[in-house]
């Protein structure tokens, strides 16, 4: 893209005395300095800690659900508890983990660094978003747990409207979380527009930023609809104005329209950041610029926009008119195109690359494989007559877990492994990281592939109990969930060990051309010592110096290279 020679503003020279340089972790100390920090990196880390806590809670719920389903009839809990547990699992995973995971944690940390900026455009707002997130999270969890909410994360009326008022608390929690999303979105959009380092034009914008940018746009546009829905629900409950409850003259299907008008775009809020991370991983570990950079960037924008037009595909059996059904099916198929474009470009990037199978890359390759399965199974669900059979069965459950977990979570984990050295200044044990990857990858497929078959055979979702003929597949699925659990446990131990006794990370342990690797490790409180000037693209490996590419590798990594 650029033919100028590289004069990257790297801090290589600073290597020798990098110990004396201030870094964001140590330049201030004490709990107070964290609680009141305006540093996007610290805020990113605080998000990271919160979403990991949320992931842990949601994961425990998932294991409880799978344990209950090991055998027919009651295994460990009654139907009522089961319904609350899967509601908690869904709501926590969606609203507290997946949506904020990549933008909140990795985005906060790396978006300004990758732009060569000192911070986000509105640092105080950024801290505010974090506290709003915490507040909303407490609302949500307490609302569900104390309020005995058993509606599922979709809280469809009239079931949700008839239970006591706790649904209001829960939706209120989601609404507050939505606010946090909106503010973060606004902040990121402003940052991308105004804070780019000299020399960084839109064509040099890392694809991670493009993805987060598209996500922010959706967050800002879609989340208000959720607020309106909540307002209507509250008005109905408090003032008796008929909106959704047919008992007083409302329309329950209207609620589904509102809900999915937010929640389908929310699916893209969840998956686009995952794709964004994968771009960085594929680029770095194959040492190539992403093939079709502009096509990939624009496919994110296309997904963001198309995502607003397809909500009706969740309602093919709800009693919508035949014509709306037709239109929604057609629009839904359109979504397949930008998704396909991304996958094809990623694979094409590998061609003639110099590919390393370091753990972050394993997650990226896992992402491609799992997202492909998630994508092609979407074709079954977009095809009307086939969807009628599969709707509300385990097939759908499997499909969205392939997209959300195989996609977003793999993207998140890949990003976490990839940027861990930069964030913490420590390396982790690559071998254990690969073992964890293998367990997670295997466990995931065992858990959810069996669910595709369950769904095709007619097993409805959200069932506490099942017919004897579904037993074997349910057993298999639960077995997979335990493998998955062990995988995460291994990973947790591996990361904790790294924090305590990990080898010191160099500035650029993966030999990446990305801008975030140009600064010290862990980064300077102001990200860079001096204002960087960008003279090449983030994937211009042919313009990188030998030093940049091969300096300071992790020892396992060097060893595997020498073979």
């Amino acid at each position: 893209m650029t033919t100028e020679a590289t004069t990257a503003p790297s801090a290589h020279g600073a290597d020798a005395h990098s110990d004396d340089l201030p870094n964001y972790l140590t330049h201030e100390r004490g709990i107070r300095s964290w609680m009141t920090t305006l540093d996007h990196k610290r805020i990113g880390l605080m998000y990271l800690a919160s979403i990991i806590a949320a992931f842990f809670m949601g994961g425990v719920m998932a294991l409880l659900v799978r344990t209950e389903l090991l055998f027919e009839g009651r295994t460990i809990m009654n139907a009522d508890t089961y319904n609350q547990v899967f509601t908690l699992h869904g709501a926590i995973m969606v609203f507290l983990f997946i949506i904020p995971s990549i933008p909140g944690a990795l985005g906060n940390f790396f978006l300004p660094i990758m732009l060569g900026a000192k911070d986000v455009a509105f640092p105080k707002l950024n801290l505010g978003s974090f506290y709003i997130y915490c507040f909303g999270a407490i609302f949500l969890v307490v609302g569900i747990a104390v309020g005995h909410v058993d509606t599922g994360w979709t809280f469809y009326t009239p079931y949700s409207a008839r239970a006591d008022n706790s649904v209001i608390w829960m939706t209120m929690g989601v609404f507050i979380l939505g606010f946090s999303s909106i503010l973060t979105g606004v902040n990121f959009i402003a940052t991308v527009h105004t804070m780019r380092a000299p020399g960084m034009n839109w064509r040099r914008l890392p694809l991670f930023i493009w993805g987060i940018y598209a996500t922010s746009v959706i967050q800002v546009l879609a989340t208000p609809v959720l607020a309106i829905t909540l307002l209507l629900l509250t008005m109905e409950k408090a003032l008796g104005i008929a909106v959704f409850d047919p008992a007083i003259g409302g329309d329950p299907v209207l609620f589904q329209h509102f809900f999915w008008f937010y929640s389908h775009p929310a699916v893209y809020i969840m998956i686009l950041p995952g794709m964004a991370v994968v771009n960085e991983l594929i680029g770095t570990f194959s040492r190539r610029k992403i093939f079709g950079y502009m096509f990939v960037a624009m496919s994110s924008v296309a997904l963001a926009l198309l995502g607003f037009l397809v909500w009706g595909h969740h309602m093919f059996t709800s009693g919508m008119s035949e014509y709306s059904t037709m239109v929604f099916s057609a629009l839904t198929f359109l979504v397949a195109i930008p998704s396909g474009v991304k996958v094809f470009n990623w694979v094409a990037t590998l061609y003639q690359g110099s590919i390393s199978l370091a753990s972050p890359m394993l997650y990226a390759l896992g992402f491609i494989a799992l997202f492909t399965i998630g994508g092609v199974t979407g074709l079954f669900l977009g095809t009307l007559s086939v969807d009628i059979h599969l709707h509300d069965t385990y097939f759908v459950v499997a499909h969205f877990h392939y997209v959300m977990v195989g996609g977003t979570v793999f993207g998140f984990l890949g990003g976490l492994h990839y940027w861990w050295p930069k964030m913490t200044g420590k390396m982790y044990d690559e071998n254990w990281a690969r073992v964890a990857w293998l367990l997670v990858f295997t466990g995931f497929n065992v858990t959810f592939f069996s669910q595709f078959v369950l769904g095709s055979q007619g097993m409805p979702r959200r069932y506490y109990d099942y017919l004897p003929r579904f037993h074997n597949l349910h057993m298999t699925s639960s077995g997979g969930a335990y493998i998955l659990g062990v995988g995460f446990l291994v990973m947790a131990v591996m990361f904790i060990k790294s924090l305590r006794s990990g080898e010191k990370a160099s500035e650029n342990p993966w030999g990446s051309a990305g801008y975030e690797w140009l600064t010290t490790t862990p980064p300077h409180p102001h990200n860079f010592h001096e204002q960087p000037v960008i003279t090449r693209g983030p994937y211009d490996y042919h313009l990188c110096t030998e030093l940049e590419l091969f300096e300071g590798h992790h020892k396992d990594f060097v060893a595997s290279e020498a073979e």
Binding site: N78, A79, D80, N83, H148, D150, G152, P158, Y159, R162, A163, P246, G249, V253, S286, R287, K289, F291, F295, F316, G319, E322, S329, F333, I337, V343, F344, A348, L350, Q352, G353, S354, I355, L357, L365, I368, A369, T372, I373, V376, L379, T383, S385, V386, I388, H389, D392, T393, Q457, G458, P460, R461, R462, Y463, Y464, Y466, Y539, Y541, H542, E561
Partner: protein, 340 residues
């Protein structure tokens, strides 16, 4: 005989099923091929271009032709899928003319079925005739439910405050020991309306909202429906089960809103006490003995003979099943003797 289930899908038991299945397997093979191509290429590249000392990555080129090709090529497939899916959907949405009508009510956590035109009812079990289109008109008494029969490949939400319809034509009868299952596919909870303790005790919840579905020959279906149309269980032990059933029907159908059984005169409709066997006189001056035929014709054509002193404007027309007519007759007959 129940047909065999295929590898991935339940047995094909309706006219819709083969259509859905052929499309399903078409997408399945397309998916397998795409997956193998994409992931196969990926693995191949990963092996072929793995990092080797001294070998650098080639800079990425441009290839707009390739980009446009793989953007446009899937469009053909997608248009085909959309079209085929829409056709199957329309087939499933538009019932043939003159189907057998059955009304369905979903409520936490049972399915109630009413066979039309007889009005015969059954709960949590449904029998339908083979090789005949059947249309269900469905509504919910409380929250959302969804009527799902995997073997028929049909599913439709059951919504309170609105009627949804669904039709199917079964192609095979079921074995007596192996009825099909009707599932509720829309989450409908466990505790709404009842306490958590009750729910645990009853173990009723969304996942227990199942009904069995039998497909029989038309003759067996007719017999079944005729059997359904009899005195309810609570009446069977009575001395006169038909009269007992008739009394219930008279209340259910609203007769008692106008008529009474106390013998009191002066209401908006004649009393039924002592009606049986009495001599009736009508506004046109004719007279007649109140026998079974008279009572039945009064129900079905109230305006044909109007009892002196009343107007027919008030009495609606009723068309209950044969058995129900007889039950009401039996009830009115029982009022001739009782207490007199």
């Amino acid at each position: 005989m129940n047909p065999q289930a295929s590898e991935q899908l339940p047995p094909q038991m309706s006219t819709l099923a083969p259509q859905v299945d052929s499309l399903y397997y078409f997408i399945y093979y397309i998916s397998v091929i795409s997956f193998v191509l994409i992931v196969g290429t990926m693995v191949f590249y990963v092996i072929k271009y793995r990092r080797k000392p001294g070998v650098k990555a080639q800079p990425t080129g441009h290839n707009n032709v390739l980009e446009v090709a793989w953007t446009v090529a899937p469009v053909f497939l997608l248009v085909y899928l959309f079209h085929a899916g829409w056709q199957g959907y329309v087939f499933g949405a538009v019932a043939p003319s003159n189907p057998l009508e059955i009304h369905v009510t979903g409520k936490q956590w049972t399915w109630d079925f009413t066979h039309m035109p007889s009005g015969a009812q059954e709960s949590n079990a449904l029998t339908v005739p083979v090789n005949e289109p059947v249309r269900l008109t469905m509504s919910s008494a409380d929250v959302l439910h969804s009527f799902f029969v995997p073997a028929f490949r049909v599913k439709r939400d059951v919504v309170p405050g609105m009627f949804t319809t669904l039709w199917f034509e079964a192609t095979h009868t079921t074995d007596e020991a192996e009825p099909l299952t009707i599932f509720c596919a829309e989450y409908c909870g466990a505790t709404a309306g009842i306490s958590a303790e009750q729910s645990v005790a009853l173990n009723t919840n969304h996942s227990s909202m199942l009904a069995s579905l039998r497909v029989t020959t038309r003759e067996a279906y007719d017999t079944h429906v005729a059997q359904l149309d009899g005195p309810p269980e609570a009446c069977v032990a009575e001395a006169d089960p038909m009269a007992c059933w008739g009394e219930r029907l008279a209340t259910e159908m609203g007769c008692m809103g106008c008529h009474n059984t106390t013998g009191a005169a002066g209401g908006i409709a004649p009393t039924w006490r002592g009606l049986w066997g009495s001599n009736r006189s009508f506004t046109d001056g004719s007279t007649r003995e109140a026998d079974a035929n008279y009572i039945i014709s009064s129900m079905m054509e109230p305006q044909s003979q109007i009892v002196t002193g009343f107007t027919t404007a008030n009495m609606p027309v009723y068309a209950p099943t044969e058995n129900r007519k007889l039950a009401i007759v039996a009830f009115i007959r029982s009022l001739a003797t009782e207490g007199q």
